[in-house]
């Protein structure tokens, strides 16, 4: 009820701002016009090639739409992110894109921006604010679950005669929301399978060197396992190196192959999938997140901050409903393959969530140009 009232208020405020703008006398915070010309983006920049693709795609798409995009790195600091959002709000930005670093921390600043008529759209990592019109991202939990399903399928193929498969779960930083969800998704699916024993959950801390040293010592101490799941690309590559150091890295189908599934593809991961060292990597359509958000953001602003342009919760969005125009960037026709579809509209934290699909990278598709790891190599 409160949420509905707040939304109504925002709509009314948006409409009022639009009306004033049409009258040609608007010049307040939030740009004051119903065209999307300048967007501020707050994102962390210290995550390697994945985050580079995520940010550059936003820059390319904004360029194609003729939008001026100002990207500010928050350096993994919630405080810095709050400050940047407030700066954008008080400046002449028409809207704000945020990849939230700490779920609850930026809520006040985001709400303040919304109240002042500067819409905030979240991508990749969700905010706890119920005020935003849209969050675009995939489900970390589903990603972990999908990795588990891929692992079971690969184990059945590799070790069909074994009664029990022993597997390891290498998880990310404790307390990190995505690390928890990715691990839990994996564990929940595995718990339902009687043939799987998750012998240990190891801390890989989202770091390649930590995962490498932890896994190689664990295997040496406790013996081989049949499969290892890693919660992100860095840890997955550390696990590959750990098996190599233990002289047990062999491709799928060969004796002694340890089934590896993980979250994320990358320029390094994709060739390893092709060689059969990694069985499957569940990848996000990261270079679509910001374009999808910007597409809806544009419609939202042009409609006078009207959230009726956002698809209804529980609906399904396909490429027939949403067009992300492809463009030539980095030598490829970017966004030409709608790997995000179908997008399922859900509600999360009191606002709509455009839940994109994920892509499972296997030996069949590891070299396809629609995988971000093959573009940002």
């Amino acid at each position: 009820m409160v949420d509905t009232n707040r939304r109504s208020f925002l709509k009314a405020t948006g409409a009022a701002v639009s009306a004033t703008a049409i009258a040609g006398c608007s010049a307040g915070p939030g740009g004051g016009s119903n065209t999307l010309e300048k967007v501020g983006m707050s994102a962390y920049v210290r995550g390697g090639s994945w985050i580079t693709a995520y940010i550059e795609a936003a820059e390319f798409y904004a360029e194609d739409l003729g939008i001026e995009l100002e990207v500010r790195p928050n350096q993994q600091s919630a405080q810095k992110q709050v400050q940047d959002i407030r700066d954008f709000t008080n400046g002449d930005h028409d809207a704000i894109l945020v990849g939230v670093w700490s779920t609850g921390a930026a809520e006040g600043a985001i709400n303040q921006a919304m109240e002042q008529g500067t819409p905030v759209f979240a991508t990749n990592a969700d905010t706890s604010s119920s005020e935003i019109p849209l969050y675009v991202g995939f489900s970390n939990y589903d990603g972990g679950a999908s990795s588990a399903e891929q692992m079971v399928a690969a184990l059945e193929e590799q070790y069909p005669d074994k009664d029990t498969w022993r597997v390891l779960n290498v998880r990310g930083v404790q307390g990190n929301q995505s690390a928890n969800q990715r691990s839990q998704g994996f564990l929940d699916v595995m718990a339902e399978n009687d043939r799987v024993e998750v012998v240990q959950t190891l801390n890989g801390e989202y770091a390649r060197d930590v995962a490498q040293s932890t896994v190689q010592q664990w295997i040496n101490a406790n013996g081989r396992v049949d499969g290892i799941y890693s919660g992100n690309l860095s840890m997955g590559l550390g696990v590959v190196q750990a098996l190599r150091n233990q002289d047990i890295l062999v491709p799928k189908g060969e004796d002694g192959h340890v089934v590896l599934t993980q979250m994320d593809g990358s320029p390094e991961v994709n060739p390893l999938v092709g060689e059969g060292m990694i069985d499957a990597a569940v990848d996000q359509p990261n270079y679509f997140y910001n374009p999808i958000a910007m597409q809806y953001m544009k419609q939202y602003v042009e409609a006078g901050n009207d959230d009726s342009v956002i698809p209804e919760v529980d609906s399904e969005v396909t490429a027939d409903d949403l067009t992300i125009e492809s463009g030539q960037h980095k030598g490829v026709e970017m966004w030409s393959e709608p790997i995000w579809e179908p997008g399922i509209m859900r509600e999360q934290n009191g606002h709509p969530w455009f839940r994109t699909n994920s892509v499972v990278i296997t030996q069949e598709n590891y070299d396809q140009p629609f995988l971000w790891g093959n573009v940002w190599g």
Partner: protein, 331 residues
């Protein structure tokens, strides 16, 4: 009678000075009882020590600074920056600079980068008079930022020889042991070592006995930079690429290793060999916790913190016992 008491006190003092080793012995015993698979074979020990090499070199760098009554917060970022900078020059990945192909030149560059940053630290502290905390904190931030400014993706395509140094377990462990042995001997038997201890005990007194303290501080920070750069080289070899977050978060572990090994935070006391014991202890506890089915992944960090707290309590007790013995005048 007093002589007999004196011998006992001597023995107690010697034990206190080398307390890390009985502690390590007890921990090994505990690991063998409760998580025996952690040390199931020689390979276990090799893997454990191999993983400890980068941290060990940083602990050595930090120990040297601590013994002199200073400290260095920038060691992790020096390791990361020098590794990333050299990686960009040597690497063949699409975004790399790829201007150097010889791994030998690479060794020179990475050591040179570390030495230059360490030298700058030393000059700013000794000559310009900046507070070591502020100076090394600034460099921590600058070089961590500079690393990200250069590259946010893993640097690949490095020459095999360049990677072999840190990527060959026995060689890497050898480097660590030789470094500790060399600095252990240097600190114990050389004029440089004695000057470092003197500086750490009292800078004023050290100056009065003719030690050029400014020059010494510069040399210490330069050595610290070089050791940090070697840690970066080892980390690169260990992982096989230069990951974008290389070296981050290691400084606090380096402090922990030094303190657990008995190096005084206030300068002038502690043994380099003790610091090696601290490194091994940290790695052993970490490995045992990872291998233990009784400890969940979510509890490991907390237990690590308790280990550090127990070590600090032990050293606090040690310090009180030492003071009591020395105050009694029997030695």
């Amino acid at each position: 009678m007093s002589s007999r008491f004196g011998d006992t006190d001597d023995a107690v003092l010697t034990l206190l000075d080398n307390m890390i080793w009985p502690i390590l012995g007890l921990v090994i015993l505990g690991v063998l009882v409760f998580v025996p698979q952690t040390l199931r074979n020689v390979r276990s020990v090799q893997l454990l020590l191999w993983a400890a090499v980068p941290l060990g070199l940083l602990v050595l760098a930090e120990s040297l600074c601590l013994l002199s009554g200073h400290f260095d917060l920038s060691i992790g970022s020096i390791a990361g920056f020098s590794a990333m900078f050299t990686g960009m020059l040597l690497g063949t990945c699409p975004s790399c600079w790829n201007v150097v192909s010889s791994p030998w030149i690479g060794f020179g560059i990475i050591l040179g980068a570390g030495a230059l940053i360490g030298l700058a630290n030393g000059v700013m502290i000794a000559r310009v008079g900046l507070n070591p905390f502020l100076q090394t904190l600034a460099f921590l931030i600058i070089f961590e930022g500079a690393k990200t400014a250069m590259q946010t993706q893993p640097v690949t395509g490095l020459p095999a020889l360049y990677l072999d140094i840190g990527g060959t377990p026995n060689f890497a462990i050898g480097v660590l042991l030789v470094a500790f042995l060399a600095f252990g001997l240097l600190m114990r038997f050389s004029r440089f070592g004695q000057a470092v201890y003197a500086l750490g005990s009292s800078e004023k007194s050290a100056r009065e006995v003719g030690i050029d303290t400014s020059r010494l501080i510069i040399v210490i920070y330069t050595i610290s930079g070089v050791l940090s750069a070697i840690a970066g080289l080892m980390l690169t070899g260990f992982v096989g690429v230069v990951p974008p977050l290389i070296g981050e978060g290691l400084v606090f572990q380096a402090f922990a290793g030094a303190v657990i090994g008995g190096i005084s935070l206030f300068g002038g006391r502690g043994k380099i060999t003790g610091a090696l014991g601290g490194v091994i202890l940290i790695q052993l506890v970490q490995s045992a916790l990872n291998n233990s089915t009784a400890v969940g992944a979510t509890e490991i960090q907390m237990i690590n913190g308790f280990v550090l707290l127990v070590a600090i309590l032990l050293y606090s007790t040690q310090s009180k016992i030492r003071s009591r013995i020395l105050a009694s005048g029997s030695v």
